[in-house]
């Protein structure tokens, strides 16, 4: 069977199940099962890529980067859906007035959101890439508005508006790139491979303009400073499973788009442009996000700003052209950030608030969560035993090696500030005094998914370093770049 259709089948089943009103009670477990089966399916499809092959099907194709981000999206979606099966029925019974129809719609839209996120790394055509990213915006906006509260409506509106404007800029940029090679011999193409092959014949001026517009557009979607404005609102107001998908998978999608475009610009002999734009953008994003991390009053907003910081690191990795670090850090960040958002969802449920000053004493009230949250905080901040440390260390090494000393030093400074800010905030949540009555009935099983993710991060940090790097080298070569 066609591998690209195969990937979409199980999410599509979820979409259809969500539309059947009578399944509302069984829906959470059915979706969790579907997404768990999706992991081996995607693994089987992506397996040939690990031996350096590439798959093509019209405007879709799977190369190394495509396979890596398809796997990340699958892991994130599976974790989110399993956690949703544990948490969302309890949330519904707690008195949030959520009808069966809205509940089913959540799953329908999640399925469509996943399919559109799969399409992004697999697109070989700039137009299809744009359509897929626009589709992720349209499908995820209603997810943010799941609770229909005033704050979630405001966040949805901001998200919809800012990302639509961003994506409009990206469309304009895409058109400029298309126009840049339209007069060249052989006519125009929007296939990324065709653009790279004929990159030298493109009009350099229009290509530069096009790249800048695309960077503005996809950068808004990725949350590069100062275009990150929608991100903390959307991530804090969405239900935690949706926040996990937004942070763990959606931000990566926008960065993949930037990676693809920077590939085209590099092939046109303008690697300097990519570096001059992306390296400072990444470094500034890291520093700005770390400063904003200090004065946070909301657990989920804090995690969102930490995502902005990691987007900065990933932008820097793209800027210095280090594909290995880009994939590795995207994977590590997604795993730990999803774990953190899922834990935050549990805390919001049992404490009834996500305001940091009101949270405290998690280690006393629900010890398992306390341990997991503390471990997660260290992982998110990039401390040694976890995978994030390895990838951040490699990124710094590559940045120094690329001669970008100023960027490397400011990133180091940003990472230090972020470490202090995150551990301080989370330390107070875990160790501080219990300030409000806490509902401890929610079960320990809610910590299973986050703990499993943190253990994966630990393993990738400790045991697998050399073989992981070998696999990554193969994946990046399959992507046709260094």
């Amino acid at each position: 069977m066609n591998p690209f259709i195969l990937i979409a089948i199980l999410p599509l089943v979820m979409v259809l199940l969500g539309l059947v009103p009578s399944t509302a009670r069984r829906l959470p477990w059915m979706s969790a099962a579907l997404m768990l089966v999706q992991i081996p399916v995607v693994g089987w499809v992506c397996y040939p890529i690990f031996s350096g092959r590439t798959l093509y099907w019209g405007v879709l194709g799977m190369d190394g980067i495509g396979a890596a981000f398809t796997i990340i999206t699958t892991i994130v979606s599976a974790a989110a859906m399993v956690q949703a099966a544990l948490v969302m029925p309890a949330e519904r019974s707690q008195g949030h007035n959520i009808t069966d129809r809205r509940f089913g719609m959540f799953y329908t839209l999640s399925g469509l959101f996943m399919i559109s996120m799969y399409a992004v790394p697999l697109a070989r055509h700039l137009g299809v890439l744009w359509i897929a990213i626009e589709a992720t915006t349209l499908m995820s906006a209603p997810l943010i508005n799941y609770h229909h509260s005033r704050d979630s409506l405001e966040a949805t509106w901001k998200y919809l508006l800012l990302c639509s404007v961003g994506i409009a800029f990206a469309l304009f940029g895409t058109l400029l790139i298309f126009a840049a090679q339209h007069n060249s011999a052989g006519g125009g193409t929007m296939m990324i491979s065709g653009l790279i092959a004929h990159a030298k014949e493109m009009d350099p001026r229009l290509l530069r303009f096009g790249f800048v517009f695309c960077l503005l557009g996809y950068g808004t979607k990725a949350g590069i400073f100062p275009l990150h404005n929608w991100l903390p609102d959307a991530h804090s107001e969405a239900p935690s499973t949706a926040s996990a998908m937004l942070s763990g998978a959606l931000l990566n999608c926008a960065l993949v788009a930037i990676w693809r475009l920077s590939g085209v610009v590099t092939a046109a002999g303008q690697a300097e442009l990519v570096r001059h734009l992306l390296v400072p953008a990444g470094a500034i994003t890291v520093v700005a996000a770390s400063l904003m991390l200090i004065r946070q009053h909301d657990l989920k907003r804090m995690l969102a700003y930490s995502s902005v910081e990691h987007v900065g690191l990933l932008t820097l990795a793209i800027g210095i052209g280090s594909g290995r670090v880009f994939i590795l850090h995207a994977l590590n960040h997604s795993i730990v950030k999803v774990a953190m958002f899922l834990l935050a969802g549990g805390i919001l449920h049992s404490y009834g608030t996500k305001a940091l000053p009101k949270l405290g004493g998690l280690l006393k009230t629900i010890p398992v969560w306390g341990v997991a949250l503390m471990a997660g905080a260290f992982a998110v901040a990039g401390s040694p035993p976890f995978g994030t440390f390895i990838s951040e260390w490699l990124l710094l090494r590559d940045t120094f090696a690329a001669g970008e000393t100023a960027a490397a030093v400011s990133v180091l400074l940003g990472l230090t500030i972020a470490f202090i800010a995150i551990t301080r905030h989370i330390g107070r949540v875990v160790l501080g005094t219990v300030r409000a009555p806490v509902e401890t009935t929610p079960v320990r099983s809610w910590a299973i998914v986050p703990s499993a993710l943190l253990i994966i991060s630990l393993i990738s940090g400790v045991a697998l370093a050399p073989p992981v790097m070998r696999v990554l080298t193969i994946l990046v070569q399959a992507g046709g770049r260094r």
Partner: protein, 214 residues
């Protein structure tokens, strides 16, 4: 300077956008959108006739039906159902916006050489599409109602379609059609969100939506 009919239509769309900057009545602004979309679809139809690209006729009719008929009717009905008639503008008075809009039009005209594709039929249109893009952004920034921001976004989108029509030839039809439909879906979702905002805030004034901050 030798202006083709296409260039005149493109300039017309940009002038309509400037005119919209000075308007306060939502209904009149929607008529502005209708005019813009009609001008764009006639450019598309003209290109189809001149170059014998029959597939562009399909696109022209889709653009007309969706952007000049369906979307304005949808937005007009939504506004009527929420009892909204006018947007007095946030921060900047509409007259000032009008003057800034004129300035952007001039800037767009002078930017033309930077964005046009050499040896194409419609040299003047590239700058007009950039002007439309900027004026659309201006409309979004200076209005206070959520529905006016959608109108501004649609103006931006007109600028982009104008560029794609006049400066590139042979964008795949399927792609163009999907983009038009995605705009429609986006407007429908935005309409739904605006409806909910109106229900829970009892207004759609985005300058008064300040619940979320650090």
């Amino acid at each position: 300077m030798n202006l083709s009919q296409t260039d005149l239509f493109a300039a017309g769309a940009a002038v309509v956008a400037v005119w919209m900057c000075g308007l306060t009545r939502v209904k009149t602004q929607l008529w502005g959108l209708v005019l813009q979309a009609a001008l764009l679809s006639s450019i598309c139809a003209r290109l189809a006739m001149a170059e014998h690209y029959n597939h562009l006729l399909v696109l022209a009719s889709a653009m007309f039906v969706i952007k000049a008929v369906a979307i304005p009717i949808f937005l007009g009905r939504s506004a009527a159902s929420m009892g909204i008639t006018s947007d007095r503008g946030a921060n900047v008075h509409p007259t000032v916006t009008l003057i800034i809009g004129c300035g952007l039009l001039v800037i767009g005209y002078f930017l033309t050489p930077h964005f046009e594709v050499p040896a194409m039929l419609n040299p003047g249109s590239a700058g007009m599409s950039v002007a439309l893009l900027f004026i659309g952004m201006l409309l979004m920034i200076t209005r206070r109602l959520a529905i006016s921001q959608v109108i501004g976004f649609l103006t931006m989108e007109s600028g982009i379609s104008l560029y794609s029509l006049t400066q590139t030839r042979g964008m795949p039809l399927l792609l163009e059609m999907i983009i038009v439909f995605e705009v429609l879906i986006g407007v429908l979702i935005a309409g739904l969100v605006i409806f909910r905002i109106n229900r829970s805030f009892e207004h759609i004034d985005v300058t008064h939506m300040r619940g979320l901050h650090d």
